[in-house]
């Protein structure tokens, strides 16, 4: 079903607001993985504000949908989503990376409400997501598990171990989403370690592949709606995104995988986000 215009505008506003909060968090933290946080912000926004059934006041609710940020370095993107959703006080974001703070570069599931798995070492999230999905099968639960992985992360062999087993166990209650921003720490994914033909690889592992514009709210919503009801085989959504999406000097620039912002750069980034938002709203 097409996204109601009002809902779309609300989601666009939320994604914009969260991008700003992400930039502020980077400043409070001193630095952070801002590029991948911004590329995946639209996906996290649509998940947490449209598709996932969760209760921020009861973060361990056993029937909740699960979300695993397997690209765990994007904590400066994920923590603002959780704080804004009401899992914890937004003021806590100001203590990000401070000594003894519960919020660090890679979010800790034992310390941060709403974090379903401690991630950071790449490739770990997808097996954990499968474990949650298989547990739902054993316990008769209906929850969905969403796992957001990075494209560079797919260099890890264990991603493909997990893909093979998701397919083998026909775990259609786990939806894999790849943030395909085509950048990694040291360069472009295709220069560092070729992933293409990427979709074919997932197909060969038994997945239904959906390729979408991962910075388009409507496309993300449609893909998730379709994926949830698709029960023939597991679905992977390859979300083609732009690293640093919304900030012109970060966009498609792998050097902004990780970085900090001084006052001038923050202002410039904020202005760029606002222009980006205006352009997007014209299309909404």
């Amino acid at each position: 079903m097409a996204l109601h215009k009002e809902v779309l505008i609300n989601l666009e506003n939320k994604a914009h607001e969260l991008r700003h909060l992400c930039l502020n968090t980077v400043v409070w933290a001193g630095s952070g993985h801002v590029g991948g946080s911004l590329s995946s912000m639209d996906i996290m926004t649509v998940l947490f504000h449209k598709h996932m059934t969760v209760d921020p006041k009861n973060p361990k609710w056993e029937d909740r949908d699960r979300f695993i940020l397997s690209k765990g370095h994007c904590g400066v993107g994920f923590a603002p989503v959780l704080a804004d959703k009401g899992y914890f006080d937004k003021e806590l974001l100001k203590e990000y990376n401070h000594t003894g703070s519960p919020l660090g570069m890679h979010l800790d599931s034992t310390k941060v409400p709403g974090v379903d798995a401690s991630t950071g070492s790449l490739g770990h999230g997808l097996p954990i997501a499968l474990g949650m999905a298989l547990a739902a099968r054993v316990t008769g639960k209906k929850y969905m598990t969403y796992c957001l992985i990075g494209d560079g992360e797919c260099d890890e062999g264990v991603i493909w171990e997990a893909a093979m087993s998701i397919s083998h166990y026909k775990a259609t209650n786990v939806i894999t989403i790849v943030d395909r921003n085509k950048c990694m720490m040291d360069g472009k994914t295709e220069d560092i370690m070729q992933l293409e033909p990427f979709a074919d690889k997932w197909r060969a592992f038994g997945f239904e592949v959906m390729e979408i514009d991962g910075n388009n709210i409507v496309a993300i919503d449609e893909a998730l709606s379709t994926a949830k009801d698709f029960k023939e085989k597991p679905v992977v959504i390859i979300a083609h995104t732009t690293k640093g999406c919304g900030v012109n000097f970060m966009e498609d620039n792998y050097r902004w995988h990780y970085g900090g912002l001084d006052e001038d750069k923050l202002k410039e980034a904020q202005n760029s986000l606002d222009s980006h938002y205006e352009t997007r709203m014209k299309g909404a």
């Binding site: 401690s118 070492s121 499968l130 474990g131 949650m132 547990a135 264990v158 171990e161 997990a162 166990y169």
Partner: protein, 335 residues
């Protein structure tokens, strides 16, 4: 607890891993949350027996150990109690990042029952031996590390693991172990050493298959040398029974550790840390694999080769008994 008392008959006819499998089926019968996972080692580790009784609660993840432990972690977050079995070498090294980050860091209720530990897969060679795992696993915060002495004790350790919340590593051998216990009718408490023989001349602290060897050596030493040797079955390496160690230092002033593991990092290292920090002088010797990759052979022959069997213990006890480890015999002048 019905069905969990093991008899001589059971442990004579079942290998240690078979006792583990049987125990697991009994636990699974009573507890719906128990699930089993392996990586194509259902038969070798004996966890496969669970699939015969509860196929819907058994998951073979193929030859993919990293995925195996990640999946188990995910299951534990959802309230299941996963028992995961593959060889010790793969549990402690191949998939260590997952064991560390997914299971121990998140303090999840995953029970890792690792088989074919030490040199028990004798002829398979060092790719399948595991003489590093105790050292590796005891540095994982939150993790309990147990090394039961025989089949009977394995049943008790597995039972205790299910009934105690938190991540656990239980290290067992391939095949049959020498029977230490005639029955399961004894107190087994995680973190509490068991004094198998009282003595005041020297204490042997052992774990796993070396406990039986220690007891046999102690019997001989009493008969032939007139020595009263205390034997501690240190079935739990972490948390370690510091009190039993310091009591041994005080009462016997000579300690030998025996383990089927590299002398670095394992039981001997753990015990020596306690002694060193205890501040009391003590004659001390670690028996284990002397920081080398083992030759191949039958397990008992390898234990003999590296001096961690009865003969090796006898030689070492006699050596230590003849050593003067401090200038005088006045205990009270020690710091």
């Amino acid at each position: 607890m019905a069905g969990l008392t093991y008899t001589v008959f059971d442990t004579t006819n079942l290998s240690t891993a078979e006792v583990y499998g049987k125990t697991l089926v009994e636990l699974a019968k009573e507890h719906d949350d128990l699930v089993g996972l392996t990586a194509d080692l259902a038969k070798s580790t004996k966890i496969g027996i669970l699939a015969e009784h509860y196929p819907e609660r058994f998951f073979n993840m193929g030859i993919a150990e990293q995925n195996l432990f990640g999946v188990a972690a995910g299951m534990a977050t959802a309230g299941l109690t996963p028992f995961v079995s593959t060889f010790a070498v793969f549990t402690s090294m191949r998939a260590l990042d997952q064991v560390h980050t997914d299971i121990c860091y998140q303090n999840l209720n995953v029970k890792m029952i690792a088989t074919h530990a030490g040199l028990s897969f004798g002829q398979a060679g060092s790719t399948h031996h595991c003489t590093e795992d105790i050292g590796i696993m005891r540095t994982m915060a939150n993790l309990t590390v147990m090394v039961p002495a025989d089949g009977t004790e394995t049943a008790k350790a597995v039972h205790a693991a299910y009934h105690t919340d938190g991540p656990m590593y239980i290290r067992i051998n391939r095949g049959f172990d020498q029977k230490l216990y005639e029955s399961g009718d004894y107190e087994f408490e995680i973190g509490k050493a068991i004094e198998l023989r009282e003595g005041t001349d020297l204490t042997i602290i052992a774990c796993g298959s070396c406990v039986y060897q220690a007891v046999e050596a102690a019997k001989i030493l009493e008969a032939t040398d007139g020595l009263k040797i205390r034997v501690l079955n240190m079935h739990t390496i972490k948390p370690l029974d510091n009190e039993a160690i310091m009591k041994a230092v005080h009462d016997t002033r000579r300690i030998i550790t025996v383990e089927d593991h590299n002398i670095y990092g394992g039981l001997g290292s753990a015990v020596s840390e306690v002694i060193a920090e205890g501040g009391k002088a003590c004659g001390f010797k670690r028996l284990g694999i002397p920081d080398t990759y083992s030759i191949i052979g039958l397990h008992e022959d390898l234990m003999n080769h590296y001096g961690i069997d009865t003969n090796g213990i006898l030689d070492t006890v006699r050596e230590i008994m003849g050593k003067d480890f401090e200038e005088d015999d006045d205990w009270e002048d020690e710091v």
